[in-house]
Symmetry: C2
Subunit: 334 residues, 2 copies
């Protein structure tokens, strides 16, 4: 029996990235199906040079499918992921719908690959800002112990999907050409602006995005009481999220040892030489698989303090790549 | 005898803002002189509807001048500020040349106005990111005591002067029109990018900008051992710096009390209602005198922890306005 993979939300920004990453990594699928809502069903996509027609995402579409990569929003995911799982399909879901469900593993393979195999049909892919963060925090935790983490994010518009990208491009175009600025996706103009508001606000004054970083980091690393806080900010960058990360470690560290550790950590690329102006930036990390870390320096304001600057392609490690890596773990185990 | 004021570097981004702020605040000068390097001497500027010719900035130009606002770079300032002071002029200098000199007061009037009157002819205006930060930190310190501060900045290109503004505008124009991207001022493309590198790198891996925030905050607030760290980042915003500020306070606080305190603090505007999407952003603060603070919420990762989002027009409070306020204090005291 051949391996059958479905991508749900295949015409979206993350879904199409899932398809291209399956293709570029030569994922050993015998068949790849593209599914989407009625709005996109019937569209044609290319996979390995072959045309595939987008089918309507509905329960029956998962018959015979082994692995389904979902990136079609929380609503569709809540409805269809259990239907797919019921039909023997393992769902890897990129929405936030299942992430905090105690029955659902939330996985970054470099950190908690083993959780994948505890799945009951649904595995959750973390929030983009969380994935790149834990890649860097996890090796630090294993060696030195995390005492406290303070994160400020600089997030690209592609994290808000096609409408987010369109907002920035259209607004920049409007400003350059003296036309009226229109906001379709974001609550305010994002061109030439910073918006400290991603996803909806919770009652405690944090945004859902900030709470995702806090709660998902704890769940992935299995540190239930991790002291961590976050301020999440949208910036006028098309792709790749940046994070200013301040860490207090339990144990003493040597700075060169930290750099050496991170340079050898899976999924992480050390990019750090201030004497040569080498530090991560969105223009460098976009279309790269690795999460880049630089500006590594001691924070003298606290015992065992460390400052880092972490940048990663939010559509790859922050979404599509991580989902495909989970799928790879699944089939390698089989 | 009339009050004679000179603006040195009058044709630059900050210098021209100094002139317009003197004018809009109806500063009681009987004469305003515009000075600049040989490159700009001879140019004509408007002040209160009257044409003034830019004169060459040289020692003799300060004869009879009571107050000189300098924004002409560190080199010219080092050379000419002592010459002006020698001639009985009080220099208010916006460069970093004199800020950490123990003989030179470094002043944000809302915080340490009294230091102005200890001057020996030169008063330093702080770095843009520092001015807006201490406006918010100072009332918190007085009431609760600052234990530790972690700052991540989102800094506009106008902080790098006209060439910085030109870089962003030209690069955006190049990208929109499919032309080659040229970097004149910044080490890398700033359009659609974040650059974690402002000013030069120091041996400890911090940038000079980051060390300014650390050292100047301590000096202005007279807290020599303040535990504070900073990551300074340039973002593709034309004007107004944003800061994600994480604070640990010594004493317990009530969140509403903190908001009330900040709403009553001089120079600070509380702009904080997440239920109505009210939070500071560069598009809101530009051309405003106040430093805006919002996203005020408890940081649950530490005892007495607080997160804030602070945005201010870096050319106004971060530069020209603060200098003019110092001048106002000087003449009000007289």
């Amino acid at each position: 029996m051949g391996l059958k993979v479905a991508v749900v939300g295949a015409t979206g920004v993350v879904g199409s990235k899932m398809l291209s990453i399956l293709e570029e990594r030569n994922f050993p699928a015998d068949e790849v199906k593209a599914l989407a809502s009625s709005k996109s069903a019937g569209k044609k996509l290319l996979y390995k040079g072959k045309e595939i027609v987008v089918e309507l995402a509905r329960p029956e579409a998962f018959e015979g499918v082994n692995i389904a990569l979902f990136s079609a929003g929380g609503e569709l995911s809540k409805e269809l992921a259990p239907e797919a799982a019921k039909r023997g399909c393992v769902v890897i879901d990129n929405s936030s719908a299942w992430r905090m469900d105690p029955e659902v593993p939330l996985v970054v393979p470099e950190v908690n690959e083993n959780d994948i195999f505890k799945n009951k049909g649904i595995i959750a892919n973390p929030n983009c800002s969380t994935a790149q963060l834990v890649l860097v925090l996890w090796p630090l935790h294993k060696k030195y112990g995390l005492k406290r983490v303070v994160v400020s994010t600089y997030q690209a518009v592609s994290g808000a999907g096609k409408k987010g990208i369109d907002d920035l491009n259209n607004q920049v175009d409007a400003i350059v050409n003296g036309k009226e600025i229109v906001c379709e996706k974001f609550p305010y103009q994002i061109a030439f602006n910073c918006i400290p508001h991603i996803d909806v606000f919770k009652e405690n004054g944090y945004t859902k995005e900030e709470m995702k970083v806090i709660e998902e980091s704890r769940k992935i690393m299995h540190i239930d009481d991790l002291a961590i806080t976050c301020t999440a900010v949208r910036v006028p960058v098309l792709n790749s999220h940046s994070e200013s990360v301040n860490v207090e470690l339990e144990k003493e560290f040597d700075l060169d040892e930290v750099k050496d550790l991170l340079s050898k950590s899976p999924g992480v690329a050390l990019y750090d030489d201030f004497t040569k102006n080498i530090y991560p930036m969105p223009i460098i990390t976009t279309n790269k698989d690795e999460t880049f870390v630089g500006r590594i320096r001691r924070d003298f304001s606290v015992k065992n303090g460390l400052n880092l600057w972490v940048v990663s392609d939010n559509l790859r490690k922050g979404a599509a790549l991580n989902a495909v890596q989970i799928a790879e773990s699944l089939i390698n185990k089989k």
